[in-house]
């Protein structure tokens, strides 16, 4: 927590921009240990007297703990403001919403850009490889520090959805319900392939300097921008790209050169350029690696149902998008089948949209309605007023 702030203050008033300095080292799945772990997080709303209304929001790859409110750096609304806020499906007048920057991220939680206490310099590639399970373990430490034993819900889309599944596997007793949106139980060969392109683009940048760029005062901006451009295509559907841009030109007529002739080129370049302003290249390497390593069934003897065996009392909402080709609907169906096989209660909705994977944080009223409905029903079952 920030200086002068206590857990009590945060639970009372909410905290945007708090940092927990964990007293205990974090032992990772790899066997490595992180000393001096810090977890940056935000909270929105108030914890009730029974401590039963806390919701953990797990953020996707390139976002951070500022799910609601205003981002202190960009001044923009939090990335999930349409979902989490007063009167929203994740109603902060009703729920105490917590969102923490993931382990190995660049939003304040310990990651490759942090100072290695052993050397006094940024970790760079000396940072240990982490997994989704490690990210979740760090979140559980934060909840311990906040004195929250059991969450009303763990909610997330994309990589956030994978964290939700990992929560259900590792800490089912600490959650009443779970919402997994546009995710998958493991990274496919194509998912790994796209991430590898991004990593190679970063590592090909001479300013990457073997990951030591921070110490050398440079940044692999071009490589990171290319990585973002490639990934960004996978977040949108072909139909959405066609609808938004088609073959529309930037100006009248072709340039007969290599400027951005087409609006879609200009859009992608902008996506790349904006990303390097807000994200760290090494964090991108580590988080994509964690996702590629994610395979919940493999970690449970090859059975996804076995991963959820202890989660049979958790109420699950699983949502997918018809045009999501990054984590397509069959991946969500596989999750639902495994939950059913484990004896867990699962609601599943495939939302018809052409917005592709990114639909989970865009203006998608059907998702918002489905989410509100699921949470209302779960809240009733939990006895939340």
């Amino acid at each position: 927590m920030s200086d002068g702030e206590t857990a009590g203050d945060i639970l009372e008033a909410g905290a945007e921009g708090a940092v927990l300095a964990s007293p205990a080292p974090l032992r990772l799945e790899s066997g490595a240990v992180i000393d001096g772990l810090e977890i940056a997080y935000c909270t929105y709303g108030r914890l009730n007297a029974e401590r039963s209304n806390a919701v953990l929001v797990c953020h996707p790859l390139t976002l951070d703990q500022h799910a609601s409110g205003r981002h202190p750096k960009t001044g923009k609304a939090g990335w999930w403001s349409q979902v989490a806020g007063p009167g929203r499906p994740l109603d902060t007048d009703r729920y105490f919403v917590i969102c923490a920057n993931v382990l190995s991220g660049c939003g304040g939680t310990t990651g490759p850009g942090s100072i290695d206490p052993a050397t006094g310099e940024p970790y760079g590639m000396k940072f240990p490889v982490v997994t989704v399970a490690d990210m979740v373990r760090a979140q559980a430490l934060l909840l311990d520090a906040l004195g929250i034993e059991r969450l009303f819900a763990v909610v997330g889309g994309s990589m956030g959805g994978m964290q939700v599944l990992q929560w259900a596997a590792d800490y089912p007793e600490r959650m009443f319900s779970a919402v997994c949106i546009g995710a998958a139980p493991r990274h496919s060969a194509q998912n790994i392939a796209f991430h590898e392109v991004g990593r190679q683009a970063i590592m090909a940048d001479p300013y990457w300097r073997g990951g030591d760029y921070a110490r050398q005062g440079v940044r692999p901006e071009k490589g990171l921008a290319v990585a973002r451009m490639a990934a960004h295509i996978t977040y949108l559907s072909e139909a959405a790209l066609q609808r938004k841009f088609g073959r529309e030109l930037q100006r009248d007529g072709l340039s007969w050169g290599f400027d951005a002739d087409f609006q879609v080129e200009s859009y992608l370049r902008h996506q790349g350029a904006a990303f390097v302003d807000r994200f760290d290249a090494n964090s991108y390497l580590y988080i994509t690696r964690a996702l590629d390593y994610f395979d919940l069934a493999a970690a449970h003897g090859g059975s996804l149902a076995e991963a959820f065996r202890r989660a049979r009392d958790v109420r699950f909402g699983v949502f997918s998008f018809s045009s999501d080709w990054l984590y397509p609907t069959p991946e969500s169906r596989q999750i639902v089948r495994a939950l059913n096989a484990a004896g867990a209660r699962a609601s599943f909705v495939e939302i018809e949209t052409d917005k592709g994977h990114d639909a989970f944080f865009l203006d998608e009223p059907v998702l918002h309605a489905a989410l509100a409905g699921f949470l209302a029903s779960a809240a009733q079952a939990r006895g939340l007023a």
Copy 2:
């Protein structure tokens, strides 16, 4: 043609590795003019006395004129040896098969790596932007030089299929039949987006040197490899990647690092590394640009049927692959509908396969059988024995 070879020799015996030095300058769609145009090409089989058995094969983006026989540099079989050769669907005992390296390519035809006669140095980015129509115009010049007035067929897959469509729009009187495989009548926003990622990866490489790398004795190998890796994913289906690689590891256990842990990573890295050995970065820029500019309907007042209006006597075979997400089946159906609207005869087959876009030059027996059947029927109609 090579020194000492005459058109007569080539028509008689075939020529692998011939170069036509065009006597006339080539005026491009942009208005620019290329002096000293050279067209590198191969022929297989013999032209018959009636000069009626010539087939032009149009190659895809990253391949070259060595469609059959052996590639002189790699020693490997030509890229379409399964389709073009003695006893193959494109039977070189029967047809005189011609394949020319495209304009702006790097297989010997004039491109950005060629010497600019105006300066005596490689063109680099001074090379004019070319279009698919320009590529086709250069091929028509080659046919003029070979004394072939009318082709029995123009055949191609992917970018080759786009050239086939351009042939039908521009020179319908010079072709009896046309085979368009796994192509599209225009580049979609997603197609352009993936190409732009590749171009940005190349241009981000400090060894690109504004396109002047050849003169400076360096090569943007890392950028070109990343471009290839990103593109290569689009050539394969998710199902094929899953079948071939899944989440299989390179060794026992994870490395907990950034080596190629997964086989799919190793495969992609290999694809990138092998590509830079055989392809030129600036050619990649120019050819992808030509494809992005390709929009056959737009060039004909917005009507694809209008583009094919003069081609109503050409017999078309259109083939697509069920798992091709680069140029999916609906794009081929659109071509067929436009051909029908123009009054042309079109056979259409969607081939069920999980091999994705690359199926057109892989071992795909259904395609080979369909192609053989189409050509046999056309040959009969043409009166070829």
